[in-house]
């Protein structure tokens, strides 16, 4: 049975600098998978390659059964691949509600319509509003994103990607730097995601990783060091060595 997401021999170099070196990675359907590694290991680069924001130097990327290596980013999204960004990447001048509406509109393929006013699709806006309620953002629905605190913006970042109803979701440090009330909301949302979504989380917070992930891949300097269950990873001396050099990881 094909994986939800797979890379074969994925490579990327910028001149003499190799940031991804022959990565063979498999994300199973319904996975709860974490990608960890020291800073500069190439985790975000990997996500950029997989989503199509960056084009690989070599290798293949498969989404389900189809080879998407040459497909542009937007088309991969249409096939069910979504991501959040490590740094909030939102429409800062638009309202929270509208940020989510844009995503839903693209998903429903009505975002390019010219013949109706933008405010006429009640079903769409209701869905967006419901999504905000689930994340506790309802009160901020009409506020421009740039007026929100960092933690609240991080929730919007999650809401926008979830609005795409993806089959494969890549979360890049979703709770990093997020203060308490919002971070528990984020964790709750992640934990209650439908079981058929394949989830890959990049994280540094080991408590979070061990709580959410059933499988962990360790990336070091663009290469996979080891992959296994949380218990196997925790016990692996190589992993500890890689992190000891970093100092305390919490």
């Amino acid at each position: 049975m094909s994986a939800a997401l797979e890379t074969k021999g994925l490579c990327k170099s910028f001149g003499a600098l190799t940031v991804a070196n022959g990565i063979d990675f498999r994300l199973e359907r319904g996975a709860r998978h974490a990608l960890i590694g020291p800073n500069g290991a190439g985790k975000t680069t990997f996500v950029n390659l997989v989503t199509g924001a960056l084009s690989p130097s070599a290798g293949r990327i498969l989404l389900g059964d189809s080879d998407v290596t040459l497909l542009p980013q937007a088309q991969r999204v249409k096939r069910g691949l979504a991501r959040t960004f490590q740094i909030n990447t939102l429409f800062r001048g638009l309202s929270v509600l509208e940020n989510v509406c844009l995503a839903i509109g693209e998903r429903l393929d009505v975002a390019g319509d010219m013949h109706r006013p933008a405010g006429s699709n009640r079903t769409l806006m209701d869905e967006a509003y419901d999504a905000l309620e689930t994340l506790g953002l309802a009160d901020d629905a009409l506020r421009p994103v740039r007026e929100l605190a960092y933690g609240r913006q991080r929730l919007v970042e999650l809401a926008v990607s979830l609005a795409l109803k993806p089959k494969v979701l890549l979360l890049d440090e979703p709770a990093a730097g997020v203060p308490s009330p919002e971070s528990s909301v984020i964790i709750d949302i992640i934990e209650s995601l439908p079981a058929d979504i394949a989830l890959l989380i990049i994280e540094h917070d080991m408590d979070l990783v061990f709580r959410l992930a059933k499988r962990i891949t360790v990336l070091v300097q663009g290469e996979i060091l080891v992959e296994g269950t949380p218990q196997e990873i925790a016990a692996d001396p190589r992993v500890r060595e890689v992190y000891l050099g970093e100092g305390a990881h919490r």
Binding site: T51, A53, P72, Q73, A74, Q75, V77, K78, A82, R83, F85, T89, L90, F91, R92, G93, L94, S95, L97, E98, C101, L102, A103, G105, E106, R107, V110, A111, G112, D113, M114, H115, R116, P117, A118, G119, S120, N121, R122, M125, D126, Y129, E133, A138, D139, A141, L142, V160, S161, L164
Partner: protein, 333 residues
């Protein structure tokens, strides 16, 4: 949560967003003013027609600049293409104005589509240069193809027939004014529809954060190309209006001065607010009519200074200042 029947907050937020795009009574103001001007200033109708034409032109720039965030130094390419198309048709025996307008718009649109398909793949500075290159190329071609276009002397011998077979272009500019007003109205209708549609909102998204648009599956290049082509059609129609109402086409319709002055007019009014053109163009052109004839050197100097001041201190133009004042006087939502 509470039932959907009462006016609970959920409905309120959604309602507010829906209301944003509906027609407001204030929006009738420009049309009332323009109609009133027809009766109140019968001696200034030729200037009035010029203003209406430039509003349409500025509107075309606002669509790509204010909404899609595409900066251009060469919008005159489409304006001029429309002007010369309408001019050549009228000079070679086909003086029917409305069909001439349509053909001119189509020609400009095709040039927009073809050039856009090629240059919209590039970014900011390079794109800016390329928009300039297209306009400059067209201008040079028109200059050198003098046997067709009249070159530096301009295209003469245009003979424009009656509008709808009924309204002759009279010496006082009455027909011209109303003709331009009607076309501006149609153009505005189209622009307003576009801007307030899901397509228009996605353009705002592209301008706000292109990376995010890609990440939600939006076909960014296609959307930009579409609005670029539509903007070219609109600019072409404006150019054709100029040709038909003045029965003459000069080389300057393709010039950098044309592209530049329409940008200035739009900036003064306010970019990305749909009505910036309606404010900036009349202000600029009426002032120009009053002061530039007396002393063009004087005019260039002060307009240059005004432009610098606007860019430094009033980026959002007259409409932006207006919005700021409103926000200060009525702080509640």
């Amino acid at each position: 949560m509470t039932a959907a029947l009462d006016a609970s907050p959920p409905a309120a937020a959604v309602n507010a967003l829906a209301r944003r795009h509906r027609l407001r009574p204030l929006e009738a103001l420009p049309w009332l003013a323009a109609t009133a001007a027809f009766f109140v200033f019968p001696d200034y109708l030729p200037l009035g027609a010029q203003i209406l034409i430039n509003i349409l032109f500025a509107l075309s720039v606002d669509l790509i600049l204010g909404y899609a965030g595409i900066a251009t130094l060469g919008q005159a390419a489409f304006f001029g293409a429309g002007a010369y198309t309408a001019g050549l048709l009228a000079a070679h025996g086909w003086g029917e104005p409305i069909s001439g307008l349509v053909i001119a718009g189509l020609v400009a649109g095709i040039i927009g589509l073809l050039s856009g398909a090629v240059i919209l793949r590039t970014r900011s500075l390079t794109l800016l240069m390329l928009t300039l290159m297209i306009a400059v190329m067209l201008q040079e071609a028109a200059n050198k193809a003098g046997s067709i276009t009249g070159g530096a002397d301009g295209l003469q011998g245009m003979s424009v027939w009656q509008v709808l077979g009924l309204f002759r272009f009279d010496l006082f500019g009455r027909t011209a004014y109303l003709y331009c007003l009607a076309l501006l109205f149609l153009g505005w209708l189209a622009a307003r529809q576009l801007v307030h549609s899901p397509f228009g909102r996605s353009l705002t998204g592209i301008r706000e954060n292109e990376a995010r648009m890609h990440a939600i599956g939006s076909p960014v290049f296609r959307r930009r190309l579409v609005i670029y082509a539509i903007s070219a059609v609109m600019a072409g129609v404006a150019g054709a209006l100029l040709a038909q109402t003045t029965q003459f086409v000069a080389l300057e319709v393709l010039s950098f001065e044309r592209s530049g002055s329409v940008l200035i007019m739009l900036i003064i009014g306010g970019v990305g607010r749909l009505y910036g053109a309606f404010i900036g163009v009349p202000l600029y052109m009426i002032a120009q009519d009053r002061f530039a004839q007396a002393d063009p050197v004087y005019w260039d100097f002060w307009i240059g200074l005004l432009l610098i001041i606007v860019v430094l201190f009033a980026r959002t133009g007259v409409l932006g200042l207006f919005e700021q004042l409103l926000r200060r006087w009525s702080p509640r939502r």
